[in-house]
Symmetry: C2
Subunit: 259 residues, 2 copies
C-alpha cells in the first residue's frame, strides 16, 4: 500500500466474523491470538441493540475468545456516548437485556427517543408517546436502522421500520449511531489515538462493516462467513480492500502485507 | 368557466366540511338540500379507516343530513373494490368497527396486506406476520397514509407511519386507496357516468381534498372550517378553484356559477 502509513488498529466485527450464534468460526481464536502478538490495537465493534456488553463478553469467553470490556465498542455504547455528549435524558425503547449498558443515565422527564430492537415496546401506545415527544422537539436516536434480521423461525423486523415510521410521522430524521455510520467508526477509534487511514475493519457485512468503514476512511476486509452471500463484494463501491474466506485469512493478510 | 361543460357532479367531504365530530357546520343541512334541487349528482367521499358505512350514515342522520348508502364512497369501500378487482384475500389490519364493510370478503390463506388505523393490531408480532407475507409477494394496500390525526387528547399516529415502516422493511411501495389518490376520485365518479372535468370537490383539507381532486382533473373548493388553517390555500399548486368560508358558500358558488 504505497503512501499508507503502517497499520495501527484493527476493528473486528463479532457475529458472523468471529462466531455464528454459539459456534466459533474455525480457527478464529488462534488467528486472534496471532494478531495480538503484532503491535497493533484491537477493537471489537458490533451493532447490537439487545445484548449488553456483559452478555456479549460472556458469550465470547465461552467460545474461548480472549478480550476485555475496554476492547468492545457497540452501538449501545455509541448511543450512550451521544446521550452523554448532548446531555439528553432518553426514553429508552430497548429491551431489558440492553438496559444494563445505560445504568446511571437519567431517564426522568425524557427529552430524547432512543430506539433499538424492542418488540415489547413497539405497541401503538408507546410509539405514540415517542411520536408526541418528537413533535415537541425530542431528537430520534436510532441504535441502528436495520430493515430486518435473521431469527431461527425466519426473517423478522429490525428496529429500522419503527424508526422509519416515526421519521415519516414527524418529518424528522433520526441520528443513527451504529454501523455503517461514519461517527460510529470514528468513536471506535477515538481512544486508540489512531486516524482512520491507519486502521482496517474486518467483517461479514459488505454494507455495514466494509462499505461503512471505507466511507470513514479505513480499509475494509470482507470475510465469506456469516451473512456473506456470493457477489456481496460487487455490491459496494469502492469494492473491499480484500475479500477472503475467513477471519484467519484476513489476519494472515494483515500480518503479511499491512504491518 | 370558459371551455368547461356544465357541472354534473359534486363530491363532498364529511368530517370538517359538513360536521365537526357531533356538531353540524351551521347551515350545512339547508345548503345540501338546496344543492339537491339542482340537477347534479352528489357523492360523499371520506377517508375513514375505522368507521363502517352504517356508522357514518347513522351519525349523519342524527345531525339531520339526508343521504343514502349509495351516495357514500369511503376509503374502506375503495379498498374493498381493489381487493375484488384483483381477487385478493386480505389480512385485514383494521379495527373491528371497520370489519362490517368487508363482510363476505374471503380472508383465509391471505395474499394481501390491508392497513388502516388499527392500534389494536399494531403489535410487533402482527406487523411481523404482515412483513413476512409482503416478502413472499403480498401487495401492501393502505386505506390511506395519513401521518397523524387529531384526537381529543392530542395528536396521534395515523396509519401512514406503519405503512411507511413496512415499505422500508420490504423495499415495496404500498398502493394507497383513499384521498388524495387519483384513482379514489375516479372510482367515486365511476357510477355517475361523469368525467372529472364535469365534477367539483368540496372539502376542508387542502392536500387530500382539493389538491387531490384537482390532480384528478376536477375543480376543488376549499372551505375554511374543520382542519383548515390560515394560508392552507397557498400551500397547494395549482391553488383551489375557490376558497370560501363554509359549505354554504361553496354551494352558493356552485348554484350561481357552475351550473
Amino acid at each position: 500500500m504505497a503512501g499508507r502509513r503502517a497499520l495501527k488498529a484493527v476493528l473486528i466485527d463479532l457475529s458472523g466474523t468471529l462466531h455464528i450464534e454459539d459456534t466459533a468460526v474455525p480457527g478464529a481464536q488462534d488467528a486472534l491470538n496471532r494478531l495480538r502478538q503484532a503491535s497493533v490495537a484491537i477493537k471489537f465493534v458490533t451493532n447490537t441493540t439487545k445484548e449488553c456488553k456483559r452478555n456479549l463478553l460472556e458469550r465470547l469467553k465461552r467460545l474461548n475468545f480472549d478480550l476485555t470490556e475496554k476492547e468492545l465498542f457497540t452501538s449501545l455504547s455509541a448511543a450512550r456516548s451521544l446521550l452523554e455528549q448532548k446531555q439528553l435524558r432518553p426514553m429508552l425503547l430497548v429491551e431489558d437485556s440492553a438496559l444494563e449498558d445505560f445504568t446511571g443515565v437519567v431517564t426522568s422527564e425524557p427529552n430524547a427517543v432512543v430506539i433499538g430492537l424492542a418488540p415489547n415496546h413497539f405497541s401503538y401506545q408507546t410509539l405514540n408517546r415517542a411520536f408526541r415527544m418528537i413533535l415537541e422537539g425530542a431528537p430520534i436516536i436510532a441504535i441502528h436502522k436495520a430493515r430486518y434480521y435473521k431469527r431461527k423461525d425466519g426473517l423478522a423486523l429490525g428496529p429500522g421500520p419503527f424508526v422509519a415510521g416515526l421519521e415519516y410521522a414527524t418529518d424528522c430524521k433520526a441520528t443513527v449511531v451504529g454501523k455503517p455510520e461514519k461517527t460510529f467508526f470514528a468513536q471506535a477509534l477515538s481512544d486508540l489515538g489512531c486516524s482512520p487511514s491507519d486502521a482496517v475493519m474486518i467483517g461479514d457485512d459488505a454494507r455495514d462493516d466494509v462499505c461503512g468503514a471505507q466511507n470513514a476512511g479505513m480499509l475494509g476486509i470482507l470475510v465469506r462467513t456469516g451473512k456473506y452471500r456470493e457477489g456481496d463484494e460487487n455490491k459496494i463501491d469502492p469494492p473491499p480492500h480484500l475479500t477472503c474466506n475467513s477471519f484467519t485469512d484476513a489476519v494472515d493478510h494483515i500480518l503479511q502485507n499491512l504491518l
